[in-house]
């Protein structure tokens, strides 16, 4: 059974996320020129990915040593696997497997 505050919080949070999620689809056609749309579809995705990756790895810097080593090893294996085989699932799978192994088998 949910308490009132939790239910109210869930509803208000859902409403608070709605503008950011729906406004681009509601008014985006009117606000963006084709050149701007190309910016959003071609150049912003790699830029967003780059920013997210910086945030991920920056936060790893404050993590315990085994986590740092595991994430570094996982990243290197992911990159190597993808440069070699160029298969998304293989690259993500091997990189993650190495990360799990290093993190869980780290001595001490």
């Amino acid at each position: 059974m949910l308490s009132g505050p939790v239910l109210l919080t869930a509803v208000l949070m859902g409403l608070a996320t709605a503008p950011a999620r729906f406004l681009p689809f509601l008014v985006g056609h009117r606000l963006t020129r084709p050149t701007l749309r190309r910016l959003f579809t071609d150049l912003f995705p790699p830029a967003v990915l780059a920013v997210l990756i910086v945030f991920f790895f920056w936060n790893v810097g404050t993590a315990p040593r085994p986590v740092q080593a595991a994430q570094a090893a996982g990243a290197l294996v992911t990159i190597a696997a993808h440069l070699g085989l160029r298969n998304l699932l293989v690259s993500v799978g091997t990189g993650t497997a190495v990360c799990i192994l290093v993190q869980n088998l780290w001595p001490g």
Partner: protein, 235 residues
């Protein structure tokens, strides 16, 4: 990449599932971590999957657990959510041309466009058939939310019995971002955009840190990418 049976492409569900597997590997353990945290804060277990269904925003959900436990009001939490999720406004614009008309599928897709779903789908080449493309887009979004809800529910039910799950499994999301970026930067113009964004992000986190700074740093990075492109004379 796409397997075919007797010359036919796989069904949209099958195609969407294959695309979403890396998200499955990341969302379930992170969702479980949220569910465990939620219960450990003394909150009702059913609240964890409820937030996953209604809110479906990982960072905001973790924040809500901490704020609720600290006794902050629902309105305060909603305002913080509004600020934290403002970055989603950027994501929708990338899919305007792939969803030209309103439909239930488009409405759901707009709701379910998280960081990870955006990263996966914006970097994936669209299908030649627009109808099939839309069918795959909303199915990927739906499957991703299903993984997230399942993870949150499992974590909330398991509670303190499964405090950590398999540590390191959530690296799948980082690996996914790395692979998607590698695919993107094969084109010189996109590589330049990624390099510029990386430089801005590094400068931003050096100066501001990473606590509640994703939105301003992301906005700054995209603004600089736009300016650099304009100065290069291609826009």
């Amino acid at each position: 990449m796409i397997d075919t049976v007797q010359g036919f492409p796989p069904s949209p569900w099958r195609h969407a599932f294959r695309l979403s597997i890396p998200i499955l590997m990341g969302y379930v353990p992170i969702g479980m971590a949220f569910g465990v945290l939620w219960v450990q804060q003394g909150l009702e277990p059913s609240g964890a999957p409820l937030l996953a269904v209604i809110v479906y925003a990982g960072a905001s959900q973790f924040m809500a657990a901490a704020m609720l436990a600290a006794g902050q009001s629902p309105v305060e939490i909603a305002l913080a959510t509004l600020v934290l999720n403002a970055r989603h406004a950027i994501y929708g614009l990338a899919f305007l041309e792939r969803f030209p008309k309103w439909s239930v599928a488009k409405g759901y897709f707009a709701f379910a466009l998280t960081d990870e779903t955006y990263a996966l789908l914006a970097a994936s080449p669209p299908s030649d058939d627009p109808g099939r493309d839309r069918a795959i887009l909303w199915r990927v979004a739906f499957l991703n939310q299903t993984y997230w809800v399942a993870g949150c529910a499992i974590g909330a039910v398991a509670g303190s019995l499964m405090p950590g799950g398999v540590s390191g499994l959530d690296f799948a999301l980082t690996a996914l971002f790395i692979v998607l970026l590698l695919e993107q930067v094969r084109a010189a113009e996109k590589a330049r955009a990624a390099l510029v964004a990386t430089a801005v992000a590094l400068a931003g986190v050096l100066v501001l840190g990473t606590t509640n700074t994703l939105l301003p740093i992301l906005a700054a990075a995209l603004a600089v990418v736009a300016v650099v492109r304009r100065r290069a004379g291609t826009c």
